[in-house]
Structure formats: structure tokens, C-alpha cells
Symmetry: D2
Subunit: 259 residues, 4 copies
Amino acid sequence: MDDVFVLGGEKFASRLIMGTGGAPSLEVLDQALAASGTELTTVAMRRLDPASQGSVLDVLRARDIRVLPNTAGCYTAGEAVLTARLAREALGTDWVKLEVIADERTLLPDPIETFDAAERLVADGFTVLPYIGDDPILARRLEQAGCAAVMPLGAPIGSGLGVRNPHNIELIVESAQVPVILDAGIGTASDAALAMELGCDAVLLATAVTRARRPELMAAAMRDAVGAGRRARLAGRIPRRRYAEASSPARDRSDPMGG
Amino acid sequence: MDDVFVLGGEKFASRLIMGTGGAPSLEVLDQALAASGTELTTVAMRRLDPASQGSVLDVLRARDIRVLPNTAGCYTAGEAVLTARLAREALGTDWVKLEVIADERTLLPDPIETFDAAERLVADGFTVLPYIGDDPILARRLEQAGCAAVMPLGAPIGSGLGVRNPHNIELIVESAQVPVILDAGIGTASDAALAMELGCDAVLLATAVTRARRPELMAAAMRDAVGAGRRARLAGRIPRRRYAEASSPARDRSDPMGG
Amino acid sequence: MDDVFVLGGEKFASRLIMGTGGAPSLEVLDQALAASGTELTTVAMRRLDPASQGSVLDVLRARDIRVLPNTAGCYTAGEAVLTARLAREALGTDWVKLEVIADERTLLPDPIETFDAAERLVADGFTVLPYIGDDPILARRLEQAGCAAVMPLGAPIGSGLGVRNPHNIELIVESAQVPVILDAGIGTASDAALAMELGCDAVLLATAVTRARRPELMAAAMRDAVGAGRRARLAGRIPRRRYAEASSPARDRSDPMGG
Amino acid sequence: MDDVFVLGGEKFASRLIMGTGGAPSLEVLDQALAASGTELTTVAMRRLDPASQGSVLDVLRARDIRVLPNTAGCYTAGEAVLTARLAREALGTDWVKLEVIADERTLLPDPIETFDAAERLVADGFTVLPYIGDDPILARRLEQAGCAAVMPLGAPIGSGLGVRNPHNIELIVESAQVPVILDAGIGTASDAALAMELGCDAVLLATAVTRARRPELMAAAMRDAVGAGRRARLAGRIPRRRYAEASSPARDRSDPMGG
């Protein structure tokens, strides 16, 4: 399929972006990443020592997976901007997944701090991918501010609740000129497929795979689910109907289409 | 994956059962069946002339896809039993997808007639696969009556409404000793994945593919979605949580797992 | 409001039918029944000694609430028919809420036994009110068999899950010529309002009130919710829209309707 | 019931706040307001001529309903602040329902402009009641900024889609120290009851009543639904259970609780 995902000017065959948190070991993570087919994986800068050996960065380098640093653990625009700059210096990329979290309990993003940080990072030349709630207007404002994508949540990080408000995701997709990446809340394969069917360009997930009972198998499920959802979107689904429509309206026995 | 689907003593690698109704042409149907990877396809006996050339049966034979005759168009137990016997004679199989429909508008199955017909067909040596509503007790009674599987609907035929009552499907799965095949109502890929995640052994669909804007592409989506849902079921999804769980609870910078 | 509920030829001002199970004491039950405004309450024959003093029957007589005996605890058509006859003799009523349960764990009704018992009880002159799943076709068959109402569940007894499949309840309502009473599954006030908005003629509930933390207060909530749902149904709700519609499209300052 | 709703230091017996838009005539509006029992009604300043006769203000004055001016029609913080000041001067109240809308099609609120305007209006001594999306963190930030309540939407204005994301409303309620008023999206009575059950302190609606087929009857339905939802919240609902719980676990015939 000639269906390439373009993000920040780069092309990707896979529409599944992985996070690295939650894996019981680097070996399990490595297997899961391989099974997922991902080409882009996000890593929390504040919990990483880029110079250390045996880190998640080694795993990604060995698999030739592009690293997307994120600002997880930052609570203010200032912290996030600083963290993004450290990431740029350490990893040699101006891409950043912008996360400004409001509290430990919900890990929900702070819209005001996120918007502030996004404006500053865009001005500083970053390719900014902000993690946000599912507010269609905030998504639009961030796009207008120069972000390279918007990353609305389906549900809180690690909740596994899926896409809580499909209507908002659809509103975001309808209006966006930049890629929409469903980030956070995915619990299982059908959640990922649904996100793609709603028109998202990609899905980002971590714990749904790394904390599944069998991470590698779930990674393969997610790979196929994202592909299935994307194909279903492109294939043009049947409309929803209140009543039945016979799959075989023709009634004469000689109908060559049978049943 | 060594995950074989056993139905009526036969083994199948694919868990996607196709119907043939609704396709705009035999050629489109043929392409869709190929893309779906199905190994078992149901055909309405009452709309079929087994002796004719260029029928759907030729397509199935050419693809080496097993034919499952159904009794679509029957409104009473008597009609369904008669139709099953004609199918056995014409097609040389004692498998039958038992459909006894109550009316044209909803195409919903009649539980009383279906149960009556199932008892008679089991007594007559058929491998009976009854299409039913999502009533967990009716499913159990049909299993006790000797049916080889139960085929609850997700929603009315052709409605594309997906799995309307996941709770009932879960109750059916928990209690069933025979395969549970989700039949009718599937609209898009995530519906099929969800059905498998709920524990169904297979999914049957027709119009979701044949009446999609691009049937072949939707068939491929369904193939992957069924596989993804099955893998997700086996992989053991994370629990749903009200609150967040950080994907990276470890906070020290030297954490080798990064983010 | 001149909106009378007619059931079995009798008129009721209240559309809330209560069950009596689950109350911590007769006194609490009495207060809850009073607060509910109910005029019809169902009592399980198999757990009742009609001759005893201080029973639930005394409470109902003192409040002038009509008794509707039910066959809870019956597992076969034969048991249910026998229990209905005992009730007729003991209580002097030919009304019976027909319950034929399949198992202890789900308390789900058995469609085959229920249909069998309903036919026998109708033939024996009873006013039969059968408790069933939410299968639209079974509801229709029971109406055709002469039942005076149909009582589909919203969800399993005591589950508090509300109306699991509103689509099925709507299909039942559209087709029924007899009253449709939503029975079982109600957890809170909005569930009861929704059932009425879907077009049900009445709601039956027990544990949602008797096992609430404050039964009397919940009974008052249910009374108002059933009334609110009924009025909303009659008032003709606005259509659902994907997009906004301003409540004040007029824009000139002199608009007398303000905002 | 001694359950008073306190907003901005004022006490209200009714928890239903009405809007005035959408009514076919002042007479219909008057009847609907009376039937709703509301004590507080919002009016769009930009569409109002306070000096005119026969306006909505006369209706409210005659019914002794408190006026809550709103800034509907404003697209920037600056416009909203100006409109609030005009309202204060014209109507002699420092209460303002703050609306800063992003576009005509969705009428969704702009979180950035709203937050900016709220800070300015609080500094200027207003009692600020901001209309927002259902973002729990934005709600918290507005409370921290000194707003007297938060008014998250259930769904877009006029959509009638109800509470799209109950999980977010629950998160807002759990964290808020100021009243939470569900604003926008209500379509029917059960939506209003649900909002109150989720813990909202009040509900604001307009078109659900004014554009219903029978506005006065729907207003009465909403009055009862808000009361029912509030009582159900206070009464402490039963937990949701996967399986049944018999309403009558006691099984001996001498059980005084009957069935």
C-alpha cells in the first residue's frame, strides 16, 4: 500500500508510534518494539542518561528506530522548554513530544502551560508535537501556533479506557491540517483500530503493550490493528442503519450472486 | 501462531467467515474473498441454483473455500429444516447455518422457531450453527440441544452498528463450550477486533465488506482486525483504570528503561 | 397530566412498579414504597407465606398498593405455571409476573421455558406479564400469544447496569401493541428516565431503591425520574446534531428574545 | 429537602439554570421558565437591548428570576471583557457567564482566550462563571484563578448529544472546590439527571427546552430530572455488578420480606 505517513517532513511506513515505559526488561521491550513494526519511539528525557550503556537508546539504535524525546515529568512551560533544549543537545534532534503534566494522579496535560511552551519551542525552531486533551479548539490553536502535529489523548495515560470521546477526536480530525496522533488511553487492539477509523494519522501507545501479559504478542496485535483501522478508513465503511438491510436483496433463484 | 480454530471437527487457520451477499459483481466478490483470507463462506440456499454456471459456488470452488449453506429467507422451523435438507443433498454437506427470520424489516432471528428447527436438525444428523440474538440463555440451550456452535448477532444484519451489547457477548463466551461466532452487525474493522477481544472464536460478516466503497481493501482490513483482536485476547490486555498510571514510574535518571 | 397508564384493563397514575426484595426491614420498605408513589408492587410467591402476619402483604394492604405476584425462583415452565395457580388461589388475582429463570448466577430468564409457560397461563385465563431478555422477536411472539404486556430487562437483575441495549428496547417499543415495562437492571434515576424516553410505558425496579444507601430518598428520585422521562418522551426532544446550533441565531441587538 | 445550591454566595432552591435562546415567542419562553422552576437565567448581552420594552428581561423581572448576563458572541478575551463590563453597567450585576467562542460551526469555547478573560475579569471584581470544554485541568486552573464556578460542556451547544465524556465530568467534580455546572449539550431529561448523578451542582440548558416540540412540558421534565438526579446522587446508588444479585436472597417461605 502506497499509504505513507508524513510527520515533520519525514516519511514513515508504520503508523504506530511506541513509548518505552513500563516494560519489565530491555529484552522484553526489544522484542515488543520489533513485533510492533514501529519506526518512531518516544523516550522520556528526564529519566534517561544518554551516555549510559545498556539503555533504551541502545535498543532503539540497534533496531534503527528513530528517537522522539519527550518532556514527561515536566509541570511548567519553563521546565518543558529547558528539557526540550537538553534533548536537542543530547540527541541531536529538534523534534520533541511536548508533555506538560498537571498532576501525578491523572497525568493529564495542562492546556495553558502546554500552549505557552509550544509557542516558545516553535519560536526556538523545534518540531513540536504536543500532547493534549481532546479539546478541538486547543488542537486548532496549537496548529496555528506552528506545531507539526497534535496529539490528543483518548483517555488518561495508562488508563486503558480507549477513546472516551470519539466525537471530539472526529472534530479535531476534520479541522486539522497537520497530522493527528492519538496519544494515551489505548488499552487493546480495537481501541487502536477505532482511533484510525476516526481519521487519526497515527497512534502512540506504551503500557498497553509493555504491561500486557504477553507484550510481544500484544505488539503484533497493535501493529495489525493500526493497519486494519487505517485500511478501513480508506475503504469507506457502510453507513450505520437503524434497521436491517439484507445482504441479499435479490430474491430470484437464478441470482448469480447467491446469498 | 499455532492458534487453530476448530469448528465441527474441522480446523481453520482463518477466523473470518464471509458471507457472499451484497457484492456488486462476482469479480468484486472474488477479490474480496481472496483479500479476506477466509476459508469458510456462507451461501443462501434459497437464492442459489447449484447447477448454474458462473455462480458464487464456482468462485468458492476456484478459491478452495469451504461452502457453508444457510437457510436465509426461511420464516418457520419447517421451512428451515426443508431448506437444510435440500442443501445437504445439493452440496453434499451436513453443515448448515440455521437462520429463521421473523420479518423483512429487522431480519432478526426468531428464537422459538430457531430452537425448534435446531432440535430437529440435530436429530437428523446435521452440524447445526444457529444464528441467534445475543441472549445468553438461548445460546446455552442451543448448545445443550447439540449445536456445534452458536452465532449471536452484534446488531441487526446490515446495520453496521457493531457489537451493541458487549456484556451479553461476554456472558455467552464465559458459558459456552462450543465455538462462539459473532454474526451480523459488523460495520468496520474495530467492531471485528472487539468481537474477538470479547472472546468470540470467529467473526462472520458480509455487507461490511461487499458494500464498502472499496470491498477488497475492507476485506484486508477485516482480515487484519480479526487477527489483531484474537492476538489481543491471547496477549492479556491491561486492566482499565479510572486514573492514570505512569508508563515510567521509576524516576531516577539512571533508570535503564528510559521513558 | 391526563396521562394514564393502562395495564390489563386497569388504570394507574404511577408508571413506577416496585419490587419488594432487598429491603433491610419492613419499615424501610414501607417508607420507600410511600416515597415512590407506586400503585403496583410485585411479590415473590415462593418466598411468601400469605397467611403470616407482619409480612410484606400487610405493608401493601395498608398502603392500598395492588399486589402483583411473581414466579421468581422457578426454573421450568411447569414450576411457573404451578406457582401462578397457587398465587391465584392465595391472593385472588389472575395477574402474574411470569419469571422463569435459567440459573442462579445471572438470574437471566429462559426464553424457551418462558414462552411455554406464557402459552399455558394465557390458556388458563391469566393476565400474563412475562419477564424476558431484550429480544424484540420474543417480545412480539409473547404478545401474539396473548400476554398483557412484555417486560424486557435493561440488564441482569441487581446488576445496576442500566439499559445495556437501548436499540433493542426501541425496536420492542416500536412494534408492541401491549405495554412495554422495563424490568431489571435499573441502577439510578437517569436509567429510569432513559427507559421512559425510549418509549417504555412503565419501569419496574427493586434493589436500586431497597439497597441504595438511603432507600426512601432514592425512591423519591425514581418517582421523579420516571415522570421526567415520560414527560420528555411526550414533549418531543430536539434532534441530536453533530455540530452546534446556537440557541440564539438572531444577531441584531433589537432581538426581543435576547440570548 | 434542605439541599440548597450556593453560587457566588447566593442561595438557590432550584439547580436548573435556564438559557433563553431558541424560544419561538416570549410567551412560550415565559411558560417554559415557569414550568422549569428556575431561579437563575442567562441572557446574551450582545443580543439584548436592556432599554427596550417587551424584552426577555421583562419576562424575567415579572417572574422574579435572577438575570445572569453572558458574553455569547465574543471571540476574543478582549471582546468578552468589554461585554462583561457593559453588562455590569446595564444590569447592575457583577456576575457574568463567560463565553469566548472559537467558531460559528461548533460554538466550542476557546480555552486560551477564556482563561485570559477569566483572569482579567476576576481582577476586575467580577463573579466569573466560565463556560469551558470538559478538560479537568482547565477547570482546575480557572478555579485557582478565582472563578466562582466552572461550567464544563456535556457536548456542543445545541447538539443534544448529552454528556459525551462522563469520566471527565467526574474528574472535574472530584477535584473542584467551587460549584460545577453542566452547561451545553443536554438533549433530554435523562441527560440532565445523569449530569447531576455525576456530581454536578447544577445544570444549564436552553434549546433542549425551547426547541422541544412542547417546551413547557419539557421544562417540567427537566425540573424533575434535575431533582431526581440530585436525589439519586445523595441517596447513594447501588454498585454496578457484572452478574445478577437476587433482590430476594432469603429463600425460606417464612421470610417476612417476601420477594
